[in-house]
Amino acid sequence: MTFRRLLLALFTLVIGFIPLSALAHKESDAYLNLRTDPANDHRMHGQWDIALRDLDYAIGVDANHDGAITWGEVQARRVAIENYALSRMQVKGDGLTCDMQPTGQKIDEHTDGAYVVILFDAVCDKNIPSKLTIDYRLMYDLDPYHRGIVTIHSGDKIAGAVLGPGNPVASLDLREPDRWGEFKSFVTDGIWHIWTGIDHILFLLSLLLPAVLIMRRTKPRGGGWRLGAAVAEGSGALMVLAPRSSGYRWEPVATFWPACLDVIKIVSAFSLSHSITLSLAVLGYVHVPSGLVESGIALSVMVAALNNVYPLVNKRVWLIAFAFGFIHGLGFASALSGLQLPAGAMAASLGGFSVGVEIGQEAIVLAFLPIAFLLRRTRFYQVAMLRWVSVLIVLIAAGWFVQRAFDILIPGFSAILPA
C-alpha cells in the first residue's frame, strides 16, 4: 500500500470511527399550524415556520453570500419562498384541493435558529370540508430527514402529526359532514353564478323582453317579405329609420296574467333542460368540451335576441328556452367541475347549486316582469328596449361567439364585456 492510499484510507477511517459524535443540532424541521375559522367554514388560517437555513439551501436566501441572512434579504425572496413552500404542500377538504393564499411574512425564533413564518389561508371554497388532509412534500428531494410537525386546530379538537418523505399525509376529521351547510353554501354559489354570468342573464332577458307584448302579423306570413327588408331589419342599422317594419307589429298584452304565464313557461322550460344537462355533466355522464359549450351559449344568446328583431317564434318562446337550456346547463356544470365528492356531499352540492341557479333567475324575472308590464305600452319599451337592446345583445353575443368559437381576441371587446 502506498502512503497516499494509506492517507486516503486513514481519512475515511476518521469518519468511520466517530459514530459516537453526538449531533450538535437537531435535523431539519418545519412547523405547520392550521386553524379553522369559526366565522367561515371554507377558510383555514395557516402558519408555516420553515428554517432559514433550509430555505437558503433549497432556493438561496443569502443574496450576497456573506453568510449573514438579513431581514431585507428574506423580504426580497418572499414570493420565491411562498411559491416554493406552498407548492410543496396541499390542504384538501374531503379530497378537494384548497386554494393556498399567502397573507403575510414574519420571523420566528426556534431552538435551532431563525425561521421564516409564512402566513397563509387555505381556502376550501368548493365545499365545507368535513375531513381535512395535509399532503406534505417540503424538502422531500433535498433532505429525507426533514420533518413537518403539523398541528391542526379545529374548535377544541387538536390533531398533530409528524410528516416526512416516508409519511407525507395526515388527516383530521374536522366536523360531522354538514350537508345542510353545504347545500346552503351551494345555493349561494348558484345564485352568484347566474348573477355574474352575464351571458345567462342576457339569454333570459332576450326571451323575456317580448313576453309583455303580442306580435300581430299585418300580412300573412311569407307574403311580400322581401329579402332586402329582412336584411335591413336584421342588421338593425335601418331599424331606427323603419320602426314600423312590414309584416308585423307589437301590441301590449291586455292583462298581467297571460304575460306572467308566458314567463313561467319560459323559465320552467329553461330550468328543466338546464337541470338535466347540469346533473348529467356534474355526475360525469356527459362531457362536452368547454369551448363548444361556451360558443353554444353565445350562439343561443344571439338567436334569442335575433328572434326579437326578426321574429320567427313568438308564441312558443319556451321552446327556444328549452332547447338552449341544455347547453346552458353544461355551462353551469363548469362551475362545479372537478368536484369528486362523496355521494352525499355531491347530492347536497349539486342540489344546492341548482336551487341557487333557480333562485337567481327567479329573482331576475321578478325584478323584470312588473317593470316590463308597466312600460309595455311605451315606445321606449317597444322600440328602445325590445329592438335596440336586442340588437345590442345580438352584437355582444356575436362578439362572444367569434371569440369563443374561433379563439380570436377582438381588441377592446373584452374590456367592455367579459368573454
Binding site: A9, A22, Y57
Partner: protein, 438 residues
C-alpha cells in the same frame, strides 16, 4: 475556527466593509447566552429593519462551501454518475460531522438515495449510505448494510473499520475483534493497531490500549490533523478511563490543537472537565458555541453543578431543545437526555427509562455509566442488570463506572420495589424492536 459559526437572533448593523463583517462574525457567536435563552419567542414578529441579521449560514468565503459548490456543479453536470454523487455526499457528511450540523447528513442522504434504488448499488454509494445511518445512530441498519458490503468485497477497508466501530458501540466485542484482525490483514498494522487499541480500551485493558496508541501517536508529517486529533482523543479517553486525569487533559488539549472547534471533542472534553470538578473551565471551553446542542448541554450541566445564576434560563432553553427534538419522534439524543434528566433535572425515573431505551442500541462506556447512575438514583439496582452483565462479559473498566458497579452490587432494593424492578429488569433484557416510545 475555519468557518463562521452559525448563530441566531443577532441584530447587527451590516457593515459596509465585508472585511470588518468577517472579523465581527466569529465574535458575534460569543454573544451572551441571554440571546439564546430568549429564543423561544411565543409569537412571530417582524424585524425592526432590513439590516437585522436573522441567521448565519456558511459564507462563500468558507473554502468548504466553495468545495461544495464545485462538487455540486460537477454532480449537476453528470447527475447519473454515482462517483460524483459520492464525492458531494461525502463532503456534506464530513462537514456535518465536524460541525455537528445534522442537516448535512440529510442533504448527503438525498444525493445518495436515488443510487440506492438499484438491487446492487455501487459499493462507495453503500458506504456513504451506511456512514450516514451510523452517524444518525441507526446502528442496526448500518450494520446490516456494512455486512452486505463485506460479502461483496471482503477486503473493503472502510467497511471493516466502520463495522468494527459500530460493533464496539453496540458492545459486540467478539465481532469487533475479528474485524480488527481482518483490518490488520487488509490495511496494515497502523489501522489494525488503532482498532485493537480501541477495543482493548473498552475491555479493561487500558494500559495495553494506551501503549498501542502511543506507538502510532505520531502518524508522520503528512497525516491530516483529523487523524492526529482522533488518535489524541482516543488516548485522552483511555487515560481518563484509567483515572489518569492529567494525562487525559494533556491529550484532550493536543487533540483540540489539531481540530479546534470540533464539536465532538468539545463535548467529550467538557464532560471530562465536569467529572473532574472543573465545571468553570468546561463553561469557558464550550461557552462560545451556544448553537451546538452538545456544547450547550455541557454548559448547562456545568452551570447547574456550580449553581450559577444563569442556569435557570439555560435549563429552560435546554428543555425547549429536547422538546423540539422529541417532537420529531426519532431519538438520537437518548443518552444525553438521560444524563441531563439525572444531573440537571433530578428526575431519575424518567432518566432510567431513557437510559434503558438507549441501551437497546448503544453499549459504549458512557451508555453504561448513565444506565448505572440512573438505576442507582432511582433506587432500582435490579434494573441495571443488563449493564452489569455486560460489564462482566466485557471486563469494562472505567474510573467513572467502577464505583457505581460496587455500589449497585452492594445495595439492596428497598422493600416493595423489589418485585417491580425485577420485572423491569426482566423486560429490559428482552429488547423491544423499537425501544424509542416514550
Amino acid at each position: 475556527m475555519k468557518h463562521a459559526p452559525e448563530g441566531r437572533s443577532i441584530e447587527a448593523r451590516r457593515s459596509s466593509c465585508c472585511g470588518v463583517l468577517r472579523l465581527i462574525l466569529p465574535l458575534l457567536s460569543l454573544l451572551p447566552l441571554s440571546l439564546a435563552a430568549q429564543t423561544d419567542r411565543v409569537t412571530p414578529y417582524i424585524p425592526a429593519s432590513d439590516s437585522v441579521v436573522l441567521q448565519l449560514v456558511p459564507p462563500t468565503t468558507d473554502p468548504r462551501v466553495r468545495q461544495f459548490e464545485r462538487l455540486r456543479s460537477d454532480f449537476n453536470a453528470r447527475p447519473h454518475d454515482s462517483a460524483k454523487a459520492v464525492l458531494l455526499a461525502q463532503a456534506y457528511v464530513d462537514y456535518g460531522r465536524s460541525t455537528g450540523d445534522a442537516r448535512y447528513l440529510g442533504r448527503a442522504m438525498a444525493i445518495i438515495e436515488p443510487f440506492m434504488a438499484s438491487p446492487t448499488p455501487p459499493i462507495p454509494v453503500m458506504l456513504v449510505h451506511a456512514t450516514i445511518q451510523q452517524s444518525r445512530h441507526s446502528f442496526k441498519a448500518s450494520r446490516e448494510e456494512l455486512e452486505l458490503i463485506l460479502k461483496r468485497d471482503p477486503g473493503n477497508v472502510q467497511a471493516l473499520l466502520t463495522l468494527a466501530t459500530v460493533a464496539m458501540v453496540q458492545g459486540d466485542h467478539e465481532r469487533a475483534n475479528r474485524l480488527c484482525v481482518d483490518l490488520t490483514n487488509e490495511a496494515g498494522n497502523f489501522m489494525g493497531m488503532i482498532c485493537t487499541a480501541s477495543l482493548r480500551s473498552l475491555s479493561g485493558q487500558g494500559k495495553q490500549a494506551y501503549a498501542l496508541l502511543s506507538y502510532v501517536e505520531d502518524p508522520g508529517p503528512k497525516a491530516p490533523p483529523e487523524i492526529r486529533a482522533w488518535i489524541q482523543g482516543l488516548m485522552a479517553d483511555t487515560a481518563a478511563r484509567m483515572g489518569n486525569a492529567d494525562l487525559a487533559d494533556a491529550h484532550f488539549r493536543k487533540a483540540l490543537q489539531q481540530t479546534p472547534g470540533d464539536n465532538f471533542l468539545l463535548a467529550d472534553y467538557g464532560e471530562f472537565l465536569i467529572d473532574q470538578g472543573r465545571a468553570r473551565e468546561a463553561i469557558d471551553l464550550v461557552g462560545g458555541d451556544a448553537q451546538s446542542d452538545t456544547s450547550f448541554l455541557v454548559r448547562v450541566t456545568a452551570e447547574k453543578a456550580l449553581d450559577l445564576s444563569g442556569a435557570k434560563a439555560d435549563i429552560a432553553e435546554m428543555n425547549a431543545r429536547f422538546q423540539s427534538m422529541d417532537q420529531r419522534g426519532d431519538h438520537v439524543f437518548l443518552r444525553e437526555e438521560a444524563s441531563y434528566l439525572l444531573h440537571v433535572e433530578h428526575d431519575p425515573k424518567t432518566a432510567l427509562d431513557l437510559a434503558r431505551q438507549n441501551w437497546q442500541e448503544q453499549h459504549a462506556p458512557k451508555d453504561v455509566r448513565v444506565y448505572l447512575e440512573a438505576a442507582l438514583a432511582a433506587n432500582e439496582p435490579l434494573a441495571a442488570k443488563p449493564a452489569l452483565d455486560f460489564i462482566d462479559r466485557t471486563h469494562l473498566k472505567d474510573v467513572t463506572i467502577d464505583p457505581l458497579v460496587v455500589q449497585l452490587r452492594a445495595s439492596k432494593p428497598q422493600g416493595s420495589s423489589v418485585v417491580d424492578s425485577a420485572v423491569i429488569a426482566a423486560s429490559a433484557s428482552h429488547p423491544t424492536p423499537q425501544g424509542s416510545n416514550r
